[in-house]
Symmetry: C2
Subunit: 459 residues, 2 copies
Amino acid sequence: MGYFDAASGAPLHPVARQALLASLDEGWADPARLYREGRRARMLLDAAREAAAEAVGCRVDELVFTSSGSRAVHTGVAGALAGRRRVGRHLIVSAVEHSSVLHSAEAHEADGGSVTQVPVDRGGAVDPVVYGDALRADTALACLQSANHEVGTEQPVAAVAKLCRQAGVPVLVDAAQSLGWGPVDGDWSLLTASAHKWGGPSGVGLLVVRKGVRFASQGPVDERESGRAPGFENIPAIVAAAASLRAVRAEAAGEAVRLRELTDRIRARVPRLVTDAEVVGDPVRRLPGVVTFSCLYVDGEALLHELDREGFSVSSGSSCTSSTLTPSHVLRAMGVLSEGNVRVSLPPGTAEEDVERFLAVLPRAVTAVREKLGAPVSKTVVREADVLVVDSLGKRCPIPVIELAKVIGDVPVGGLVRILSDDEAARLDIPAWCEMRNQEYVGEEPADRGTAYLIRRAT
Amino acid sequence: MGYFDAASGAPLHPVARQALLASLDEGWADPARLYREGRRARMLLDAAREAAAEAVGCRVDELVFTSSGSRAVHTGVAGALAGRRRVGRHLIVSAVEHSSVLHSAEAHEADGGSVTQVPVDRGGAVDPVVYGDALRADTALACLQSANHEVGTEQPVAAVAKLCRQAGVPVLVDAAQSLGWGPVDGDWSLLTASAHKWGGPSGVGLLVVRKGVRFASQGPVDERESGRAPGFENIPAIVAAAASLRAVRAEAAGEAVRLRELTDRIRARVPRLVTDAEVVGDPVRRLPGVVTFSCLYVDGEALLHELDREGFSVSSGSSCTSSTLTPSHVLRAMGVLSEGNVRVSLPPGTAEEDVERFLAVLPRAVTAVREKLGAPVSKTVVREADVLVVDSLGKRCPIPVIELAKVIGDVPVGGLVRILSDDEAARLDIPAWCEMRNQEYVGEEPADRGTAYLIRRAT
């Protein structure tokens, strides 16, 4: 099995499956009812909450179950912002948060609030000092993920939480990617997570709100889950989520070492196996199972198809996949190459030989895609005075970069290439290519159509 | 098995269980992904949507899956109101809607909108003419359940939808109680339902928005479920929901006849078996499996415990249950007795002998509760001029009615009894008792503490 996309969703853990089956028979009734089926459901729900609270490291009455991780984030952000509305309406997020956090921030802005996005370094991490500088007198809430979902980089949550605590600002930690590996350190105020990321079933998220944190649920609520998650509780799934969290935690220490060794292999060997590949994300402070790299002159979607044909399921932050038309906001915020991007996220239990087989297959797959893409011959190169102009209008990533690479040798050192492109990915990938190739990226300027990117040949 | 609370939640249908198990292995991955596990998940999701749309009688692209029926209502009401914000901010609901609709209405009012509650008759149904009269030039949305969840009464949805259509107002139908029995007739605009009410798993609701209905999702959204239900789709549960809807529909015609006969028995025999019992809800236009009755001089919670001890799980709209301190808003809106209230809602497949056993057990259970409650001797009866005054302050339902019944014979025909009570249920139950006993309810007036209820002995 070559399912290497655990960061999107892990296959159901055997313990989750077992717990789900058992509680389908015991936990289907309304836990608010007084009769035996209701009491049984209530007991299962209470026990699951205790197990989950223990794994998080919080009080039982601080934790509610939501219908997904995204829902936990939406509810948590909205409730914390509303709880501190008198203080102000300023929200801080990192630039590389999960889309659920960024969607919450967009909704907050649309509603008249203000948002600061804290930038990240090329490794994908925020600098606590920079994060702290974003704090204002009217800051109602600060959000920071425990670790990034696309490149695996761990964030300095404890340091940021300390600065926020000094400023009296609550911190919401999206722990979706890390909760299966261990509790989140530091003095956070709210925490969210998603069961299907650790091998639990779909349909269960966690929202933890520490005692003393001001919180006002928004929208219609009911009497369930402390008024924070309306609707009938999905108890079989909740039981399975809690049981599997306990199970993956029991295996976490050993499995982290093993997966880290496997992703270290990928980190080390991809740049040797594939020319013009760049591994992105922090090499040390990172999740055990995630490794992300980008390959020049490769169409991300085509590469996913090649790898899928070979039996490997991975994801891509490239712009050229059918579900996205712009490069991943994470890669953009890091300022790294997005073309030919591949995220490998190994589920616990991944076999060493599957990783080795992936490393054997990858170079062939990249070469196959590059060969297909090598075909287009640039017929639109015009020399204007001392500038070589390449018209890549209407061409999608990675064609503009391929055309740039083809012509850079045609100008003398110190000469200029001007690429016209209307593909959003070019804005990220042309500067990234320049950095990888030690060429000088001069800058961009508006053109009649699209944007003109200027590159000076440096070597 | 005496689980007679299907209106709260039905046990998992065998087809749902089977489908859930099968799709745990096939449907756990992200349907937005391009690799094989993602494509498989997408196919399952698409097939489930087709099956559900067929059962509802709508287009596939009109139906999204939400995380619960309540969530479908909250999203549907908020989105439809926002979509017609320019028209106005007036919302119409019936007085007997499910709490999720009423919670949405409360949130709308808190946000500055206006709400009209349309009253119901003693059978629990709205009058289409009265409903139509509530329509205003600024009405943005009208909500009407297909059938009531507490008394089973069917609402005249088609007639109301016709009036609304003439006025250009969209109608949202909460079909949670009826969708398993058949599609909702009439020209409705939005529809909501909940899978665990028809034997599907928890964690799945349906929201249908007809093409052409203006709809603007509120709060953070993402790319899933047409931007109407954010968060990772719970595909195994969705597949199980759709499969079980199809299965219960296949059995619906025959099972409706059978359950209707069983509830008819209860309707007919309870008043003969239990003195001072009143069956409530429309005797004809009603759901097949639901029958509700109230018993004078009975504490609802004590009766639930007696029945639970005998192996029967039912629910109660009485005020005297641990989860509620006021009588059910449905019984209140109908103006019927709430004390000793019992809702029997039979799941499909209920055995005839279980119903017979229930009818055998019920009189004993009621008698046991009445004997326990018969004890309190009214020491607080004072004769003032021609009025007998009973001080029931601090006494909970059903004590005030018991004390009234004890003293009514102590005044001459034409004489007055004045009951002082601070229990909210008395406002409903004293007039209801008068109607059952052919006594004259004169009215209420404020007292130093609580409320004074005046009753004239008529017979």
